[in-house]
């Protein structure tokens, strides 16, 4: 049988019978590895190209979440309202934990709503990869889309919670000031932090399934350490007589920093000496955590990009 010339040449150059390594054959024909992690800038660009998917996925999850209930989307408002009522009855009335804080309802609810945003993002992020394995094993997309979508889903809920919070704060006697324009700035910084934290726990949750069991304990400890129910300054320095630096370190905890800044903006009686301006330390802490978490989170998540399908 007369072989075409190219085939003869192929055979002489070492076809498969001459054991040309398949890797070389692949290279000769310009084939690429089916699974390869793109370089970091390319990865970020791919994510940006998937923004419509991320947004649609987040919105769809929010819509489907309440689709089976009779009141439907009304629950997006009812849930934060009911939460606020329970916290107030529990900590404001029954436990009587006013701790000498003026306008305790506003103090408590601001802390609770700000903290809940971070806590829910972290809990959802931990499941974003491990709970979507079937999708990861069927479709191509930058895997960071999933934790990002989960954060955006929580952000959409937060917008409604914030409206509820502002309404309650005004009802407790606070008057809106120009400083309220800083609210979005704090929320943007907090969202940056949440995205980063969500990405980190998403990778951890994908590799260590037990994290989901452990996370409730971690977030509860975090809740108590962040001064949601009490003022860190009063409890640590005034009541427990610990040195000032202990309180300062506790304020550096990202959740405590974001809560502190938000209270400074919303509540006029909070830290009167500063008059709506948060202490510099709190601002620095917020900005640092936002930038650091976002950068580190993306990098850390990306490092494992090609391995999420394995489970």
């Amino acid at each position: 049988m007369s072989q075409p010339e190219s085939a003869v040449a192929d055979a002489q150059a070492g076809g498969r019978s001459g054991q040309e390594p398949l890797a070389k054959l692949a290279k000769r024909h310009g084939l690429r590895r089916a699974i390869a992690r793109p370089r970091f800038p390319v990865y970020v660009r791919q994510l940006w190209e998937r923004r419509h998917f991320i947004l649609t996925y987040a919105t769809s999850r929010n819509v489907s979440k309440y689709s089976k209930s009779a009141l439907g989307q009304l629950w997006q408002v009812l849930t934060p309202l009911l939460n606020a009522a329970i916290y107030y009855v529990m900590f404001g009335l029954i436990l009587g934990g006013k701790n000498g804080i003026e306008n305790y309802p506003a103090f408590l609810l601001t802390g609770m709503f700000v903290f809940t945003y971070t806590q829910r993002t972290v809990s959802a992020g931990a499941k974003s990869i491990s709970g979507n394995l079937s999708m990861i094993r069927a479709l191509h997309f930058p895997r960071a889309s999933l934790p990002l979508a989960y954060t955006i889903q929580e952000l959409q809920q937060l917008v409604i919670s914030m409206a509820v919070l502002l309404a309650i704060v005004v009802m407790t006697g606070e008057t809106p000031t120009w400083f309220w324009l800083m609210i979005p700035v704090v929320l943007v910084l907090q969202t940056m932090f949440n995205v980063g934290a969500g990405l980190v726990v998403a990778r951890l949750g994908a590799q260590m399934r037990d994290l989901n069991q452990l996370l409730p304990f971690i977030t509860r400890t975090w809740l108590y350490a962040s001064g949601v129910f009490f003022s860190i300054q009063d409890k640590v320095v005034v009541a427990a007589k610990l040195p000032q630096w202990v309180a300062n370190v506790m304020y550096l905890n990202p959740a405590a920093s974001f809560i502190e800044w938000m209270r400074e903006i919303l509540i006029s009686s909070h830290n009167k000496s500063f008059g709506h301006h948060p202490p510099t330390m709190v601002v620095v802490s917020c900005v640092f955590w936002a930038v650091f978490a976002l950068g580190f989170g993306f990098w850390y998540f990306w490092r494992s990009e090609e391995r999420y399908g394995r489970g």
């Binding site: 498969r16 084939l31 089916a34 998917f53 999708m135 191509h140």
Partner: protein, 288 residues
Amino acid sequence: MAELTKELSQVKGDTPAVPGKDAKARSTPEPQDKRPLDVPTGTPTVIVDDLHIVYRVYGAASESEKGNAVNALTRILKRQGRPQMKEVHAVKGVTFVAYHGDAIGIVGRNGSGKSTLLRAIAGLLPPHAGAVYTDGQPSLLGVNAALMRELTGERNIVLGCYAMGMTPSEVRDKYQEIVDFSGIGEFVQLPMSTYSSGMGARLRFAISSAKTHDVLLIDEALATGDREFRKKSEERIRQIRESAGTVFLVAHDLRVIEQTCNRVIWLHKGKIKMDGDPKEVIAAYNKG
């Protein structure tokens, strides 16, 4: 379905880079186990080089080891593996080269690693050892995993299209086509959970087949629904196959494979048992 094979050979004949070569190579009778891998049938599009896939299965442990937060903490701190995790070696050293214009059927018993192999070619599962090289981005036909039953057909179409990587303008272009093809009519405004299983399957097929692919991997997705829709979907698959460079098909229906593929790989317990002409491989498979 006989015209499918005819179509296929026509398509291959049209490929200018490989004038008649591959027909010759294919028709040469040769011992199956020594089938040369780069018979010059054109440009290779998928190269699988001694591929091993290991994936993890959870929940295989005894009840007492599960869900204890303290245990979990100790294990995490000590960096030990999870006792409830088992590793499954699904693909054990598979090697082959697929060429432009190939339609390759993959047969094998349940659990022989067919779907795992497809996922590895698609770049969705990382190899434990070995490698897969591809030209372009192979895609699995199917968006089921991204859809949400509680949402309306409308929303699911948009979501599914974005999940496959379409742009907003592509989604707008394809939307009506998908609705028409699925033939579900006004049901598109109802949640998918209210659909009959046939309607759901039709909509899913219509969404997933709306995109064109370089290398297409079809996993048992052929022809669902009633007879009329089956005809339509077979026609659609033929079109997709023509526009795709290389097609891999996993199906339990051997007739479909024999009619559509020009090469069949028989996987057995994660290894290639036979690779070659559809008639011979399927005959051997039926005997074994």
